[in-house]
């Protein structure tokens, strides 16, 4: 028995100790050392977006925000700026797998810290935004403890254990530590936009990997072709997702917007996979009754939008072309009739 336990302990402990050292040396999720503007990391985006906001907010005095998940990467905030009053200062508050509760927490934080919310776009993903699981246990999508009120040590522990479980993160951490600059991943240090368009990202990254989905370009084209051919028939049915617990959250967002006299748009984003059904008419009705019909824009299940290959990024994300068209439509309703 002693021999068995000794062997198990050695075989498990040695790699764990080694990985712990790697973790503390490389700081893969950028949470162990003070924030730096060079932290263009694509994981832990909730925390790093918040870090950038907090770091810049005093100097920049942001007043225009886009809240949402990784789908926010498909929107260029500088394009949005054209529709905002002169002098507006925009910030893309992106967090992977963002939920409506996460958005509410960010809005509350800005509001409670005397921030201005003159303009806002809230991006809603179906079904992710209405997820019941509010606190992710994955480093990719974990919530910033300053907003979620999760104890900091729990946040750190989750990141550490998640790191231990993902060999690709070990390699990434070491690679970035050895060679910190990756030309194909970056965020605007002012607005928090993806630095380049997705198509540019594709051109500058190794051909077998694209910016978001790790899809080869050929596989990506094949996926898209198949999606377009099957999308209409395979479009999944809607489910009612907004439950009683989410109503106060939505009402709170509305109340803050009302109080701040925010010019806002609630945008339900389109997706490509079978997991992304259109919003149900009941849920759409709830959003419209809370935020007003004129402020809610539904792009979910809109095949006329998602059938544009140049707006396709990967199975989960639309690209800048679609982001551009959506902004056009929501600020010029009726004008872009081709999208309706």
């Amino acid at each position: 028995m002693g021999r068995f336990l000794k062997r198990i302990v050695i075989l498990l402990l040695v790699p764990v100790l080694l990985l712990t050292a790697v973790y503390f040396v490389t700081d893969p999720y950028k949470t162990l050392r003070p924030f730096s503007l060079t932290y263009f990391d694509s994981t832990n985006r909730d925390y790093l977006s918040s870090e950038l906001y907090i770091h810049n907010s005093e100097e920049r005095e942001y007043d225009s925000f886009i809240f949402g998940s990784s789908r926010g990467c498909g929107i260029n905030t500088y394009h949005w700026l054209k529709y905002l009053p002169e002098g507006s200062k925009q910030f893309l508050f992106q967090a992977w797998s963002e939920t409506i509760t996460g958005i509410d927490q960010k809005i509350s934080y800005i509001d409670e810290h005397q921030g201005n919310l003159k303009n806002a776009i809230v991006l809603i993903d179906i079904p992710g935004s209405f997820s019941r699981n509010q606190l992710s246990t994955r480093a990719l999508s974990i919530k910033d403890p300053r907003f979620s009120h999760q104890p900091r040590w729990v946040h750190q522990a989750i990141l550490f254990f998640d790191f231990l479980q993902k060999p690709s993160q070990w390699i990434r951490a070491v690679k970035e530590w050895v060679r910190p600059h990756r030309p194909y991943v970056g965020f605007d240090v002012v607005s928090n936009d993806w630095k380049k368009s997705n198509r540019d990202l594709e051109l500058s990254c190794p051909p077998e990997k694209d910016s978001l989905g790790n899809l080869s370009r050929i596989a990506k084209a094949a996926f898209f072709k198949d999606y377009v051919n099957n999308a209409e028939a395979a479009l999944p049915g809607s489910k009612d997702l907004i439950d009683e617990a989410l109503l106060p959250v939505l009402n709170h967002i509305h109340d803050v917007f009302q109080r701040q006299e925010t010019d806002y748009r609630i945008v339900i984003t389109p997706g490509y996979c079978y997991q992304y059904p259109p919003i149900s008419s009941r849920d759409l009705g709830i959003l419209q009754s809370i935020f007003g019909e004129k402020n809610v824009f539904d792009f979910s299940g809109r095949l006329d939008i998602t059938s544009d290959y140049y707006g396709f990024s990967d199975a989960n994300h639309f690209g800048l072309n679609i982001g551009w068209r959506m902004i056009e439509e929501i600020y010029n309703p009726g004008k872009s009739s081709s999208l309706n």
Binding site: M1, L215, A222, F223, N230, A315
Partner: protein, 477 residues
Amino acid sequence: MLFNSIEFAIFLPIVFLLYWFVFGKNLKLQNLFVVVVSYIFYGWWDWRFLFLIAFTSVCSFGAGLLIEKYRDNPRKAKAVNVVNIVINLLILGVFKYYDFFVTSFANAFLGGNTAGLLIKVILPVGISFYTFQALSYSIDVYRGKLEPTRDIIQFFAFVSFFPQLVAGPIERATNLLPQFEKPRAFVYEEGVDGMRQILWGLFKKMVVADNCAIYVDQVFSTYQTQSGSTLLLAAIFFAFQIYGDFSGYSDIAIGTSRLFGIKLMRNFNVPYFSRDIAEFWRRWHISLTTWFRDYVYIPLGGSRCSKAKIIRNTFVIFLVSGLWHGANWTFIAWGAYHALLFLPLILLGKNRKYRDTVAEGRLLPSFKEFGQILLTFVLVVIGWIIFRAESIGQAWTYFTRICDSSLFSMPFLYVGTKRTALFALLMLVVEWLFKDRRFAWDFSGIPKWIPIVSSYALILVILEFAAHSQSFIYFQF
């Protein structure tokens, strides 16, 4: 509690240490500890159903004692045995089949009106497994194959032993109960083998089965719009999914038991390398197949009777086996389909033709063997379409859509589909290489560094490529 959960990863080492270091010196306490942790393991899912396991255990334990008491009065002993069987099957029937039969009856005779007739109770996890295990005890005592135990703790440990409580192997009292009767000693080699078998089971479940499930679920939910080649690929993936899922569970269960000094029976023996259907059924879910053979097929006369009875017995065993898997006509049809495949072999006396392992001691099979394996696999995959479908109609549509001209188009590959296929292939290759051993990843007699490096590599694959955790398919049976 799922084997592939963080809860189990914490539960197992704690139980292991307490089992050997705190309760290891007192057999009674050790058995009591097994019962307690097994009930915690099961109760993690729903504690209310613990009463059901306890009731099943008490009934079979009591039946064993009464049968022994009436040993000189065969009629009374038989009556006790029959009553125990009826009680257990009644419980199983109510929880698992009542709504199904009522709905089927209503559809046939009441125009589908089931108002006020259904009980809609949730299916207790693993009820079919522990019921059959408990039944084997009282039947074996009745047949005189086993002395009844007078130690109720031992008996409770036998019925509820947590590694195999919810999805088997369905152990025989003749194998498992005696192991609770004598002190157990930790054997280093068994412990190491146990860890390796757990690791291989986790790979099969978390990497192969759970990744296959993503593709299978997507295709089966949109089967009406998919091409024939896509449907065929999904059916093949389902074959790997159900094998990875169920045999993976069995590997984890057997490996875990080894850590506790308990040897469970082998439940899968490379079934996809079978050369005919009869061989497939000797290698697939062995504990259930042999259970039905010993307690249903042979009492009915087996194959030593008239041809008409052989046909009847074959259909009975396969239909009952299908029904055991679930309350749906698809399972019964699946059983009937396998009965039809099995019948020619048994009628021609060729059902025992392949009792050895294919290409034993050889690296590659002959062309003939390869062709036989391929044909058997295709037949099994067709069966899996019936098994996986939600209705007979869906299975039929699915099958006819496979057979149209789109079968020769490129299948629709989702993100990660090719990678999943590679993992399934890796599973097959490893199982082929280890087919003559007790389990895949059995490195006994091989230089030490090979299992260490291979196991680290396997851990990396599991960590990196495990799909989102899914429950085990066989929990619902």
